[in-house]
Symmetry: D2
Subunit: 278 residues, 4 copies
């Protein structure tokens, strides 16, 4: 495709670990559409993952930052603005982690410092990014911020634990800050509620395979993958969505609007079938 | 229970066919709580069902009315107001029918006169009841109207066909008329979105058994039954819910807020198990 | 912009009356992005408006069709498929009209044949378009259908009358048909819930000026205009939104997620100010 | 009224400060309906308010607890279970506070330890109450927990600051814990989204008067007051709502379903009127 939807646009992309990451896919797609960007992740994730390959591929700089640290964020925005000689156009927030999920602690045994850590990493980090950018006036008028979310913000999924609460908080912060940043600087903020996606982060959730299968059969178009999610992010960064803000946008093959599909109920019905000889 | 939540209240209950009907259960519960009411249904339903037993049990009068006929409704409200020497306090709308569902016509082969019939019977009938009552000033200040709905208004269920659209329209009419009737006469209008319920009407929907099972396992408290739905209706007719209006209230054991439950996914997983010897 | 987001795509655009129309703007934007399309409207609208100018500008053919007539729709799809030598890629539904609104009949005095006409023109027409296309297999895999809606589908607005109900039904039909068309042919169907827009159709709603002002002040980014709506439609027709379906997408400067803005409440507060000398 | 909807039921009511408090009203209504309960609040609130009067009126014991302290909560549940010789039936959570709001710190200047305090007090406290009760098995089967919320969880209101985010998190926790507590012990958990209410807590929000006026004019039935909220809480504690769980229930005179009312737009229009002589 010869499109250059993001021609001349500069951004910061948080959360690319490896090529399974949605953020990785966003970087590739944004690059293909003419954008330049800084890649950011924590020191640990940079070491564990392969982000430097992505940086090489897309001619990007990697700047480490813990998105829960306002100092790190200030440093990141300062460097990005130096690099681009001014304000940036877009930010991707693809950050989430629950120590409770990681350690297999059930929702009824939650450790509260862990819970706060989940919220801080997965949701407050968005506020910190936005507040830092707001004070540095780091995002251009009609700039765009996207954070990745999941339907667990609205509907409880067994095993998803305190990440459901974190996503609800994330979406609320997007709305709350979306109001003030929109009103004051014309910056828009949205969340994309993505199908369950087999990334390194997603694979920590127990029973993810059955959920992926169920979700695939429930969704008339099937689950959306990381590459497709990246396309949608690119559109939200482009100038063609300037008046979309404070929204949670489902990108899920239709899952969120389904009560029951033919394919899912047929599979479900097989669970009641007797084996021959029973 | 010695409660008399509806003591002295008069109402009209539409839609009791037989003892499986939610409307039948509402009538019994409302009677137990001190209400008097007129029972109404179409001529055909009166003949096919056992509404006269219910009338005898609850000391009620049966007045036939086709809820799509404004003339029938005028006659019904006139007679009810004569009977009670004045305005009434509550109305239950438990009316729904789709000729397309009945005849097994799929959603992609819909016959449009049928579609309009579905909408007229299942949704416009609520507007006709309300407009008739509004013009006759037949409902007291702080009166209450409840219509029964289903989650298909928000989420598509295979086989539910044009009834999903009818429920969406029904809920919208409840909101739209709820605004004007509330503003002008302090009458409140709500819908209850009830679990799938094994009534005579519900049993027409294809694959209702699997759906009931899935819904039962998804809902942390299990499906709500007709008797429990009737309790909820009674509360909405009582003076304890005077400021609740224009709402769609889920009465479904938690189903509507679930993405995936442990019990449902465990059952679903069984569908992939091999039989011994496979 | 050198983008060609719709390069090679063929479509049908319903509802362009004159240059104020959203559909008109969609046609211009789609044309600029490389699409070819047939323009369709009723005979009366074609005569009253200036659609032929648009056709000339965009090299399009105008084919009259009453979207409530299945025969007209069959003829339209047949001709479009002949013209393009095969299936089409996208459809825009920008059709809505309420005889009750036009004649100033309040919601409590509704004439039921009018109400059904409102629903038939504004909502069932989408089902008719889709059912016709489905039977003729007229839309390609991964094709896209968009219908224009309004927040009145969720929240009652004084004066909007039975159009709120029609929009609720429209959005439900988009979901219901979105499920089957997605499952069977990978066609996606969405609605865009657009800011109040000063079009010829919109100007029929009483008190539209105050509403536009209030909505403008409530929305952090201001109301979205017809041109911006057209951009969003183009994106939904493009290959970059393939997994978005059965959604209602707010395109409204943030209005739908606002409870109260600073600008709106400041204006509201002025209403209580005394005049000097009072 | 001779009703005894809560006859024999035991509960814990958090958050009564003085007679303006919703929790105070709930206590009075619950008492009138036959319930016994422990009143709880922080030491400071007990000293600042008049909770002992309420205790005297309702024959209740006051047990101080900081709902962010798991130790305090364990002590409270232990004492309550001793007092009643067993499990309790209901809990009211009417707890919320934002240091950012109190200190007039705008949402774009948020102090993060404050933000976490807002979330801990206003939302995590519900999780702590539930987790404590769950581990002590302190709530009977079919017991009921209600937390008070506000529409700011869904729609941003200027000045409401991080309390909107806290309410979104609170509602999510109610859903998440509602699933596990319902599944394991048949306990239901809901939130009531109440009209803006002139309580001591509510009065901290800047511009609350205009908001109350606007909300009153937008709501067809007017704002719901604290006494009416208390009625609704009582119903949710009663046996008549056993299958309602994981819901956010608007108790707001219809506000949440309104886009624009006649009364509000008429008032708004006055803001544009010229003074005589202008």
């Amino acid at each position: 495709m010869a499109n250059e939807l993001l021609k001349g646009k500069k951004g910061i992309i948080f959360g690319a670990l490896n090529e399974m990451s949605i953020a990785w896919n966003v970087a590739e797609k944004a690059y293909a559409q003419g954008a330049e960007f800084v890649l950011s992740n924590t020191e640990v994730s940079i070491r564990m993952g392969t982000i430097n390959e992505l940086a090489a591929k897309t001619g990007s700089q990697v700047i480490a930052a813990d998105a829960t640290s306002v100092d790190d964020l200030k440093n990141l925005f300062t460097k990005a603005m130096e690099l681009y000689g001014g304000k940036i156009d877009f930010v991707l927030h693809s950050i989430g982690m629950s120590p409770n999920v990681r350690k297999g602690i059930p929702y009824t045994d939650i450790n509260y410092p862990n819970f706060i850590k989940t919220l801080d990493i997965s949701a407050l980090s968005l506020h910190k990014i936005l507040q830092t950018a707001y004070h540095m006036d780091a995002i251009k008028e009609w700039g765009s911020v996207v954070a990745l979310s999941y339907v667990a913000a609205q509907r409880t999924l067994t095993g998803y634990n305190d990440m459901g609460d974190a996503k609800a908080l994330l979406e609320s912060i997007a709305r709350s800050f979306g109001y003030v940043y929109g009103r004051d600087r014309k910056v828009r903020i949205n969340t994309i509620s993505q199908s369950p996606t087999p990334t390194t982060a997603g694979s920590g959730v127990k029973g993810i395979d059955s959920l992926l299968d169920f979700s695939e059969r429930m969704s008339p178009l099937g689950n959306a993958n990381a590459e497709e999610a990246a396309d949608y992010c690119v559109l939200l960064f482009s100038d063609l969505t300037r008046k979309v803000t404070m929204q949670n946008l489902y990108h899920d093959g239709g899952f969120s609007s389904m009560g029951m599909s033919q394919r899912a109920i047929e599979q479900y019905n097989k669970s009641f079938e007797d084996c021959p000889g029973d």
